[in-house]
């Protein structure tokens, strides 16, 4: 585990001790069973690091530390394991969030599937930052930090071993620097942030609308999407609104913060394609509509069931 070198881990005690600044403790966990474990743009390792960092970041937390649990199936090539560990180490280092504790178990061949990963993370939410779906209100603007469906379509294409020309790759990345830049300047005008992973942008917005008891109207033409992702979706009969994103966030802000929020986001590489995709309105609780490319209007509903198993 030399790649994961850091003071807390190097103590090699039964647990890590962390000095935490003042504020509320944020705590999140996620397990990763993505298939295939290697895909264009990343692998199960950096996905696991970014995913948990992002979950903390979405509530306005500064991620402080991660744990790493590995369950390995006997027979997993050591070279593959090394590649994944190297990715984890690099992702952790780039994000500035150390992995301070961890565990590895090996199960017999056939009792696992190559590698399963769990990461848990802790962070600190400064006083005065209170984000969540229930803060969302009529009049708010909905911003998406970049192009949608990149991760979901990448997994679909990789799993089916389809040969697509044109660069299709996962967007997995850590978003905490972007989210902190927003929450530090917002002064109460930032209401909620969510990363639209499983179920995509559509399902995530439907969930927020229901929790906040508001309606939303989206603009299909305004939602950023790469042309090759759009084409791949059409070819495979998939709706990009429902495909996973692993390096994007939905940001809901008060109207007076919109211009600043866009500027802050677009200044960072993670948010250079940030765009307004809709607004929040008074209306039937949980109702999300979209104006289509053709100029019509239709309802957007949450995804039921599993469209693509094991995408993260």
């Amino acid at each position: 585990m030399s790649g994961l070198d850091n003071p807390a881990l190097n103590e090699l005690e039964d647990c890590a001790l962390i000095d935490m600044p003042a504020g509320r403790l944020a705590f999140s966990t996620d397990s990763y069973v993505v298939d295939p474990i290697f895909f264009p743009g990343g692998n199960i390792g950096d996905l696991a690091v970014h995913g948990t960092i992002n979950d903390l970041a979405m509530r306005g937390a500064r991620p402080m530390a991660l744990s790493l649990g590995l369950i390995l199936e006997e027979g997993l090539p050591l070279a593959d394991l090394q590649k994944i560990i190297d990715s984890i180490a690099l992702a952790s280092k780039k994000a500035g969030v150390p992995i301070v504790t961890g565990d590895t178990k090996v199960v017999p061949h056939g009792k696992g599937d190559k590698i399963f990963i769990n990461t848990s993370g802790v962070g600190i939410v400064p006083a005065g930052v209170d984000l969540g779906a229930r803060q969302v209100r009529a009049g708010d603007t909905i911003i998406l930090s970049g192009t949608m469906a990149d991760h979901g379509i990448t997994i679909m294409v990789a799993r089916n071993k389809l040969a697509f020309e044109g660069d299709i790759r996962s967007d997995t990345q850590a978003l905490h620097n972007l989210t902190l830049a927003l929450s530090e300047r917002a002064n109460g005008a930032l209401h909620a942030m969510r990363d639209p992973t499983r179920g995509g942008v559509a399902t995530t917005l439907c969930e927020i609308a229901e929790m906040a008891e508001v309606s939303m109207i989206l603009d299909e033409a305004a939602i950023p999407i790469r042309p090759q992702v759009q084409s791949a979706c059409e070819l495979l009969g998939l709706e990009p609104l429902y495909l996973a994103n692993e390096g994007k966030c939905l940001v809901v802000v008060a109207e007076d913060f919109v211009d600043d929020a866009l500027r802050i986001m677009r200044q960072r590489p993670e948010g250079r394609d940030a765009a307004i995709i809709g607004r929040v309105e008074d209306g039937l609780a949980g109702r999300v509509e979209i104006t289509t490319l053709a100029g019509g209007r239709r309802l957007v509903t949450a995804l039921t069931g599993e469209p693509l198993p094991r995408i993260c």
Partner: protein, 368 residues
């Protein structure tokens, strides 16, 4: 008069869409009931939001163009029964995966059967199923052959490829169906529409010519349409013009994909391997010469010949209106189960589960 520019980019042009919509609104005088047969049209119309844009005088009715929906309930049970047999490895299109059968014990769908240990894989093409057979010589790989004329050429080609490669552990369970005979049977029983929006992809195979007998016999305007918003609007405009001039003929608005004669080569391949036979349609009953069975020469690739497949004659779940909905006689909103006992999470009939189903489209996209 809007010109149809044949490049896909242009078919998405808002200017063109607005122009066509303007012509439709300006042109239409009397109410018109249009059946859009094809499930992909049902979904496209909803997805583009066209229902919110079209004048109220146009009533759009969904027809039996959903191959999963028209698969009889007893047939689904038979698939599940097959999946649960040892040594069998099923390959299926994703659409069938969650469709419920009638059984209330054990597995009530292929998805449940898979969760209970049955070997079932979702494939995009029958050739993938053949590859599975070649990779797993100890299993009998069965491909569930559902779909209309768009799908059958590749299935036929796969059977020929299996024969060529001498693959012994591959077979197709054919429940393929043919569109024109079903439409004829439908209109013989109930002729309640003013125009037919003909399926785009099926027509690529059978040709626009295939609808001439329908137009002649029933005095029914028929227009073949594509799936972009402008494609559908163009086809509707042409139907309105025919209807208002008292004309009934076949027109092709999808010339970039569909020709008058269709794809003769594809039909030849299908004809080599399959022959028409009677088929059971959910909601329509048994229709002669409306399905495809595998010819005796290819018996070893026919799951029904190789295996003792129990055809359970199961009745419709009580209250389910899928049959009437498929005929265009009732709307999902008329069904007492819609949105209550029957939802995408807990569906009663295939119309709610299939990605092309009328009820699924209504549930996802329209006012609830």
């Amino acid at each position: 008069m809007a010109e149809i520019r044949e490049s896909l980019g242009n078919m998405r042009d808002r200017g063109l869409i607005d122009e066509l919509l303007g012509e439709i609104t300006g042109r239409i005088k009397e109410p018109i009931r249009v059946m859009e047969v094809c499930g992909t049209h049902t979904m496209a119309i909803f997805r583009h939001g066209l229902r919110s844009m079209l004048p109220a005088k146009i009533e759009l009715i969904s027809g039996p163009g959903c191959p999963v929906c028209v698969t009889a309930a007893g047939q689904i049970d038979s698939f599940i029964d097959l999946a649960e047999r040892p040594g069998i490895h099923l390959a299926t299109f994703g659409d069938l995966y969650r469709v419920p059968g009638t059984a209330v014990v054990q597995s009530n769908s292929l998805a449940q059967a898979a969760a209970n240990g049955a070997k079932i894989d979702m494939v995009y093409s029958p050739m993938e199923a053949l590859a599975m057979a070649q990779a797993n010589p100890d299993e009998l790989v069965i491909f569930l052959g559902i779909g209309f004329e768009t799908t059958t050429p590749t299935v036929a080609a796969t059977i020929l490829a299996a024969q060529e490669a001498g693959v012994g552990n591959f077979a197709v369970y054919s429940v393929h169906k043919l569109m024109p005979p079903a439409l004829t049977a439908l209109f013989d029983e109930d002729m309640a529409i003013d125009g037919l929006l003909c399926p785009g992809h099926v027509s690529a195979i059978i040709g626009a010519q295939a609808y001439e007998p329908l137009a002649a016999r029933f005095g029914l305007p028929c227009v073949v349409g594509g799936f972009e918003a402008a494609d559908i609007l163009q086809a509707l405009l042409m139907l309105i013009k025919q209807h208002e001039s008292g004309v009934a003929k076949v027109e092709n608005a999808y010339t970039r994909v569909v020709s008058w004669e269709g794809n003769a080569r594809a039909r030849q391949v299908v004809d080599k391997v399959f022959r028409p036979g009677a088929a059971m349609w959910r909601g329509l009953g048994e229709i002669p010469a409306s399905g495809l069975e595998i010819r005796p020469e290819y018996q070893q690739y026919d799951a029904e010949s190789r295996l003792d497949l129990k055809q359970v004659e199961a009745s419709e779940p009580p209250g389910c209106l899928c049959g009437a909905i498929l005929k265009g006689l009732k709307s999902p909103k008329n069904c007492p189960l819609f949105g209550k006992r029957c939802t995408p999470v807990r569906p009663v009939g295939p119309c709610m589960v299939s990605s092309e189903g009328t009820c699924a489209a209504f549930y996802r996209y329209s006012e609830n």
